[in-house]
């Protein structure tokens, strides 16, 4: 796929390869609706409704003090993502089910509220202020981590002790609890970083980044996020940090331990992975691959740093292909809980599914939903390992994405497939539903992003081929691509987008909060996102001094 001036004679396009596969007859058979897993009738619906009310009546608020708190964040996991993921999870089972009736693990939690995700200066937000709101109780500005809105983005001189916000993780460390952060993104990425770092720019992940984005901050020695993690001095430091982002911790002179020919990126010569083990001594470790991860014995481990990729970890859909092998979010969550559980004073753990967001930005629902399902697996595992009587588990998102579930597909229609509705008389349409151009369309789509099919200066209207690098679009002049023979359920398929943008965007509507355990009942109605902190603080009986 080298870009010759011609773009000629160059390689089979991904689109062509995709379409060649899609044309196989088997793909068509897979587009059939999937059966409902039980016989349904007026009686079953009615009984289910009654049972739900009975169950709700039995709910008793858990007003005990929480010993442990686990905060799960699906980055970009809006409600449409949850709905689509629940359907896909069931449709992927060994015995596939229609899916609409399915519940992801956290959807069985008894308490749900809606979270308003706007921030101090953003209608639609990014992960930095949203996570700051969740872990400090205070909304702040775009791109800022755990400093209040008096700070100026990217200006280190505006960050000081006065506008620094203490995080729930820091408060737990002060109480002698154990703490951890787990993410499939870089562990220095905005969401996990808001728990332990304070910086006026989320992009200052390594010293090289600080120098790039703010030479003045670099000259002043403002600590980068990776350094803040390793030097974190509240309590006895974090016990667990699992994720990606290894290059932020390794010097540029050091060869990467997993990726042949690659190095770290730090310019200060510091190897923060060895500083971690030097600092914490016996019982501490740094691991970077599956073997190292498997070798961690939670019974002995005290402080564990696991960085499984140079940058973000793999999408769950691609994880099996990773060179060094890497643990799943579920496995990292289990290991983290087992390590942290040793502290009789309890623990705080934040777990982020960081790549739902990335896959949505890329316009690829397959990977976004696969990661959301894996988040549900991780939540299930955490719930199994803990006691709901003493552990508050919260599952939420930092913000949504412009991801939609459209049309009138019949029950059990493949959620990644094309819309096939019901005809008059209730029978399933043997053909796909079509738009006014006579063309089928997918159930899932994006309001904006790279899936736009209009003509650009580089490619004509319709299906685009990698690498498509337009500098302008001229708009849709002749309809949409014909998806009839395209298997839209394949991992590489990108859903269509209405507005052409190079990267699909976050969305501004509310996201859900699912909760179980002590104080979970305090999630009621529509709340500001920073209320999440205050519920956790209530559960832990945290007291706030003047410094807050």
């Amino acid at each position: 796929m080298i870009r010759t001036p011609f773009r000629a004679a160059v390689h089979a396009s991904c689109a062509a390869a995709l379409l060649a596969i899609a044309a196989a007859p088997a793909a068509r058979a897979q587009d059939q609706p999937i059966a409902v897993p039980r016989a349904e009738s007026r009686d079953t619906w009615f009984a289910d409704g009654q049972r739900a009310v009975r169950d709700a009546r039995k709910l008793k608020p858990n007003v005990r003090k929480a010993k442990n708190v686990i905060l799960f964040v699906g980055d970009g996991m809006g409600i449409s993502t949850v709905t689509a993921a629940r359907i896909l999870e069931a449709q992927r089972r060994q015995t596939p089910a229609s899916g609409e009736e399915n519940q992801l693990s956290f959807e069985t939690f008894p308490y749900v509220a809606l979270s308003k995700t706007y921030q101090a200066n953003q209608q639609t937000s990014d992960s930095a202020p949203t996570m700051t709101a969740m872990v400090t109780g205070v909304k702040t500005e775009e791109g800022v981590l755990s400093i209040d809105q008096s700070v100026v983005h990217n200006d280190h001189t505006s960050a000081n002790a006065g506008n620094r916000l203490k995080t729930i993780l820091e408060m737990c460390e002060e109480k002698g609890m154990s703490t951890g952060v787990v993410s499939t993104a870089r562990i220095t990425h905005a969401t996990p970083a808001a728990c332990y770092a304070h910086t006026p720019a989320r992009d200052w992940e390594s010293d090289k980044d600080v120098a790039t984005f703010s030479p003045a901050a670099a000259a002043a020695g403002f600590p980068d996020i990776a350094r803040q993690l390793v030097e974190f001095d509240v309590g006895d430091g974090l016990e667990v940090a699992f994720g990606g982002g290894r290059s932020k911790f390794l010097p540029s002179a050091a060869a990467d331990p997993e990726d042949d020919g690659r190095t770290g990126e730090r310019q200060d010569g510091r190897n923060l992975t060895t500083e971690w083990t030097d600092r914490f001594g016996e019982g501490s470790s740094f691991v970077f691959d599956r073997d190292g991860f498997d070798a961690i014995d939670p019974a002995d481990a005290t402080h564990v740093l696991g960085l499984f990729e140079r940058s973000h970890m793999e999408y769950e859909a691609d994880r099996a292909g990773d060179a060094g092998g890497e643990p799943s979010l579920t496995e990292m969550t289990e290991k983290a809980v087992r390590i942290l559980q040793k502290n009789r004073k309890g623990f705080f753990l934040h777990v982020e599914s960081g790549r739902i967001d990335h896959a949505h930005h890329a316009g690829n629902a397959y990977r976004a939903l696969t990661d959301a399902i894996e988040l549900a697996n991780a939540v299930r595992k955490a719930a199994e390992l803990t006691n709901p009587a003493d552990t508050l588990i919260i599952v939420t998102a930092d913000h949504s994405h412009v991801f939609t579930i459209a049309g009138y597909p019949t029950r059990g229609n493949p959620i990644l497939g094309k819309v096939r509705g019901n005809l008059d008389g209730g029978v399933v349409n043997p053909n796909f539903d079509t738009d006014l151009l006579g063309l089928p369309y997918t159930t899932l789509g994006y309001q904006n992003g790279p899936g736009y099919t209009g003509a650009s200066n580089a490619q004509a209207a319709g299906i685009k081929a990698f690498p498509h690098a337009p500098s302008s679009y001229t708009g849709i002049a002749s309809g949409r691509p014909d998806l009839t023979a395209v298997d839209t359920k394949l991992p590489g398929f990108m859903q269509e987008a209405a507005v052409p943008l190079g990267s699909e965007t976050h969305a501004g509507e509310d996201v859900a909060i699912y909760a179980t355990g002590p104080s979970a009942h305090l999630f009621q109605g529509v709340v500001e996102q920073n209320v999440i902190f205050h519920v956790m603080a209530d559960a832990l009986r945290l007291k706030f001094g003047a410094g807050k």
Binding site: M1, I2, R3, T4, P5, F6, R7, A8, V10, H11, S13, C14, A16, A17, L19, A20, A23, D126, S127, G261, S311, H312, E314, A317, D318, R355, D357, H358, H361, A362, G363, R367, G449, P450, S456, A458, Q459, A460, G462, A465, P467, H468, A469, P470, S471, S472, P481, D482, L483, T484, P491, F493, M494, Q495, P500, L501, G502, S503, E504, T505
Partner: protein, 286 residues
């Protein structure tokens, strides 16, 4: 005629935009045209992929032998050279004029683990990287004016629906595509190396490729449609360390993971890229 013509057809927009000044900061690379699927419904393209090789018109065959020739003093670098730099001239002609409407250079550096390209009048280049096992482990887009690199890991490439084949990357054209879409219409020599001339015509687009099997590289590609022709000729090939043109120092640029671009909304460069569809965009949209 098969895929190769569809890909050439996709180059039309490229040829046009290639004459314009290099793209401005944040405007993407401009004119890095599309491939097989250009302007055609999905089912049609799918059929193309499976189409057996077609025949070329007789008149195309006769052109070849005289069209391929190395510049004077051209010499191929030692076959054992580990890192080779190539330079092609690119000319766009309109209306059969002897003087090209515009011309520029296109560079490629090819080594065991890396293939990198650069468009002389543009702002951008790219590189593909593989590891010692042969697995492709990275793809980079370079914005030389802004000194920024965007890195794609294999998962990013998969998310946007693509895979790459090293043979195709290192050879500029897919050698196996030649026989499927074109016919062998002549033989020539280029700097002492035998060259096969493949040609054909489809949908009003004539294509001719001078292919050097010994170096696994095209020495000349000509595409003609109506009044307009685009011609790419190998002008120089050197051991990289001795080439008078140097590889950009892209390893010193600010590096950004492709997956992060959607969240880089406070950076003006990326904000413009997102809005323009630029590099990240629609990597393989459907």
């Amino acid at each position: 005629m098969g895929r190769i013509f569809r890909t050439i057809a996709a180059a039309a927009a490229v040829a046009a935009s290639a004459c314009s000044p290099g793209p401005q900061a944040g405007q993407g690379t401009g004119g890095q045209g599309g491939m097989a699927a250009r302007g055609r419904p999905a089912a049609d393209v799918a059929a193309d992929v499976a189409e057996p090789s077609g025949g070329a018109p007789a008149e195309a065959a006769g052109l070849a032998a005289t069209a391929v020739g190395a510049p004077s003093r051209f010499t191929w670098p030692d076959r054992a050279a580990a890192d080779v730099a190539f330079k092609w001239s690119v000319k766009r002609r309109v209306g059969g004029a002897a003087e090209p409407r515009c011309r520029w250079f296109w560079y490629m550096w090819r080594s065991e683990r890396r293939v990198e390209t650069l468009e002389s009048h543009g702002n951008s280049g790219e590189a593909w990287i593989r590891d010692s096992s042969g697995a492709i482990t990275g793809y980079e887009r370079h914005f030389h004016v802004e000194r920024k690199t965007i890195e794609y890991v294999p998962g990013d490439l998969a998310a946007v629906g693509t895979s790459a084949d090293w043979t195709r990357l290192a050879s500029v054209v897919d050698p196996s595509a030649l026989g499927r879409g074109l016919v062998l219409s002549g033989r020539a020599e280029f700097g002492g190396e035998p060259v096969e001339v493949w040609s054909g015509e489809s949908g009003g687009v004539a294509l001719e490729v001078g292919w050097c099997p010994g170096r696994q590289l095209p020495v000349r590609i000509t595409r003609t449609k109506g009044e307009e022709s685009l011609e790419m000729e190998l002008r120089d090939a050197r051991q990289a360390s001795g080439a008078p043109w140097s590889r950009p120092k892209s390893d010193r640029y600010e590096r950004t993971d492709f997956a992060d671009i959607g969240d880089r909304t406070t950076d003006p460069f990326f904000r413009r890229l997102i809005a323009s569809g630029g590099v990240l965009g629609s990597i393989c949209s459907h």
